[in-house]
Structures are given as C-alpha cells and as structure tokens.
Amino acid sequence: MTGNGITELERELLDLAPRVDFAPTPDLYAAIAGRLGERQPARRRTAKPWWTARPLGAIAASVIAVLAVVLVVSPGAREAVASIFRGVPGIRVLIPEEKPEPTSSPATSPSGTTPSASAPSPSFTPAAAEPVIPGTSIALSGVAARVPFTPRVPAALGAPDRVYLEPRAARGTVTMVWQADAALPPAAGSVGAVLTQFAPTEGGDFGYWTKSAESGFHSSFRELEVNGGAGGWIEGGHRLDFRIPDSAGWTETATSRIAANTLIWVQDGITMRLETALPLEKALAIAATIR
C-alpha cells in the first residue's frame, strides 16, 4: 500500500461528498419548537436577546477606566455566561453570572484605581506548573519574518528569555516569555511575564473564562484604555483557552490553563495580551514601554 493511493482515494471520497444523495434535511427546528416551549430551563433571567447585542467597541469607549463588572462565582455555582466582552479583536472574555461581592475591593473610583489593584489578588496563587505556551520556540531575531506584523518588545522587560511562534493561529501568533526575578514575581511556574501578540483574524481566538468555580479563584474584569487603544484587565486566576482552527476549519482548543492577572488591548492593529502576577498599574507601566 502506498500513501499515494490512500491520498488519491481520500480525495475521490471528498469529491463524492456533495453528490451523495441524502434525503433533504427537514425543518427540524419547526418540528421541535413547540416542545421547547413546554418548559423553560430551570433558571430564567432577563438575558439580553443575542440579536440585539450591541457592538462592544462602543461600550468600551463609554466606560473607559470604569470598573465594568466585578464577578465572583461561588464554588459549585452554575457556570452561566452573563456577558461577553469582545472589545479586543481575537479575544473573548466570557464573564460568568454576576454576583457582586464587595468583600476586599470596596469602593471603585471612576479613575479606575481600586484598592485591590495595588496588590496581586490575594486569592490567587500562581500555578506551580510551567505554563504551556502555544507554538514552538524560535529566535527573537527570526520571528518578524514569519508573521504579518512587527512583534514588539516592552523596553521595561528587555529581551525575552524565550519566544514562541504558533503559525496556525491568526497567520502567526508570537508569545514572549520572561523568567520571574526579584522585580517580576512568578505568574505561572518560574515564569514572570508572558506577552502574546497577533494580528487578529477570525482564526486566532483566545477565549477567557473568568471565574472561580473550579479553582476557588476570584477574578474580576474591567474595561479600560491601554496605550490609547481598547483594552481590558482581568485580575485574579481565570481560565485561559487558546484555540486554533484545525484543517477542516473547526476550532479546537489547543491549550487551556489557569492564567494570572492579564492585561489585554489592541495597539496599532495588533492584539496584545500581557500576563503577570503584577497589579494593574505595574502592568500598565510595562505596556506603556511598548512602542
């Protein structure tokens, strides 16, 4: 048997696909719609219908530097998504059912500085495991030629210790990693900072699931402006999914892990994601040195 013969046969089968005579698909929804009305799911809330969803870019502009949502999900709580932030292209922040809990972060001033922002979230302990970074290791000097944008290095952090390239996502997703040191506390394993950059397309989609149910972490999300572009800040442990499309065009989750404090924003058309254990103002200070 030759690999060639198999490939040929597979191609023939795929050519045959649109010609196979399946009975026409009946209108299945019409047939079941009445049965869905028989009873609603246990918990109903006044969800905004999806077809009236407002473009989130506009919302981002109007609530700059204001705490948008504080969320705390109690362990075991149902993981319902209350809202979705898509102000930064290529990144989705799924924000669970809101349960405002003014515990350790009481007043929020419109300027965006909160007491909780001055220190790492007390409930968050960095993961002991080294973070799984999508892609393969590549030299910093060689990465620019492989992606459709110029990767930036924050002057405050200096040259990264490692650089990774995931070519399948967004025509090239670059992730830079800095080891933890005296000034950079560990965010995950021995890593102090992770900066991911990509020129967003419909393929390279990070997903964030900010919640605490499985880990006991508390996380909060707010929209803010970073370096003049739309952005957001996720404080505390939250799940990070990195998705890449497979060859058939279906999106599969490539990595999933608990991430530390994360700043996301768009700068010159590039989506940036900076993960550290640092508080907001220090993360913003690092971001400000990206030019």
């Binding site: 198999i6 191609r11 799911p41 979705i84 058939a248």
Partner: protein, 206 residues
C-alpha cells in the same frame, strides 16, 4: 468547490459563535437555540441518516436529540466545541432507534441525479465517465461492513473532523484514526485495480 458546506462561524463579525449562543440558550433565549439548530441541523440529520438507515427514523432521532440537547445545555462545557457534543447525542438517538426497531439493513449510499452547478458544464462523455466512477466507488463503499462504511462516510462524505467522527461513532479519536486507515485499505481492495484510487494506482491519468 464543495456543494455541501456546513455552518461555519464567520469570525470577528457579528454572528455569535456556538458557545456564545449556547450560553444565551441556557438562559432561556429560544432564538439563540433556534440559531444553533439551524446551523447544525443538516449535519445532524445526515449523521442520523447514516446510522438509523432511513429518513423517517433519522428525522425522529434528530428531533428527539435536539430536544434532549436543549434540556442538557447546562451540562455542556462552554469551552468545548458544540458540534461534536450535539452529534454524539444525535448518533445515540439514531442508534437507539435502529436497535429498538431491530433493523439490520444499512443505508444504501447513492449519488444524486442533479449535478452541482459551477464551472463549465462537462461534456456528456465526461459526465458518463465520472458517473461510472462514482458508482464504482459507492458500490465498493456499500460492500464494506458497517463499521468501515460508517467511519469513512462520517469522515469524508459528511466531512466531519476526527473529533466529530469520534463523537458520532462513540469512539476515541485515536480509534477513529486507526479504524479509518484500515477501512480505506479495505475500500481500496474492493475497487477494481483499474479504477482511480484502486489498488493499482499506477498509470492513472492525472
């Protein structure tokens, strides 16, 4: 150009993706669930057809599965792709129906009479040659045992991913891979040596 394409997300534009729709449907948003059904009903029905063996049972199975899926949305993990999850439920319903009916006959695969448009119309001779090739391939496929035929049909004729094929057939992804390669070997053995893709691929016109 595929004549059959299934629902795809349209990226950074406005249409919400599956997990977003699921999240909204969980909260009782019927329109969101309707959108999900419309996106996936064609592939759901075809999976049911392949397994149940006829259109009537396939329709029943797919409808039952879609109702069950609706009430099971709370158990769906939002970080997972929706389609494999749905197809698993559909395939289970179809298998149950087939089992309870005590049916043995498999779906006889056939090609449609009409030709998809696009490109220059082929000459009658070309059409006849291609039609014959298709018939030979389908006949070979229909001679395979159920397990081989189903894995090939799901993967190539429905163009499912390995993950989706695994979900529909209740197998592990690794098993799909190995079963698929064995099924392709057997399919090739069923084909006359002179057929494109047959066991003697030498001398085949490009």
């Amino acid at each position: 150009m595929r004549a059959v394409t299934f629902a795809q997300t349209s990226g950074s534009g406005r249409p919400l993706d599956d997990s977003e729709l699921v999240a909204l449907a969980r909260d009782g948003d019927a329109r969101a669930y309707e959108e999900l059904v419309r996106r996936h009903q064609a592939v759901a029905f075809r999976v049911a057809m392949l397994i149940a063996g006829n259109a009537a049972d396939a329709q029943d199975a797919a409808q039952e599965a879609l109702v069950k899926a609706y009430y099971a949305l709370d158990r769906f993990r939002l970080d997972a792709p929706f389609r494999p999850w749905l197809l698993r439920i559909v395939a289970n319903e179809a298998r149950n129906r087939r089992r309870s009916a005590g049916r043995r006959e498999a779906l006889e695969l056939a090609v449609t009479a009409e030709r998809s448009s696009g490109g220059a119309a082929p000459s009658p001779e070309e059409t006849a040659v291609q039609h014959e090739r298709e018939q030979v391939l389908l006949a070979a496929l229909n001679r395979l045992n159920d397990a081989d035929r189903l894995v090939i049909a799901h993967r190539y004729l429905l163009e499912l991913s390995e993950v989706e094929t695994a979900a529909a057939l209740g197998l592990r992804t690794g098993t799909v891979k190995s079963r698929l390669s064995r099924a392709l070997v057997r399919l090739r053995q069923e084909l006359p040596a002179t057929t494109l893709g047959g066991s003697d691929a030498a001398g085949v016109p490009a």
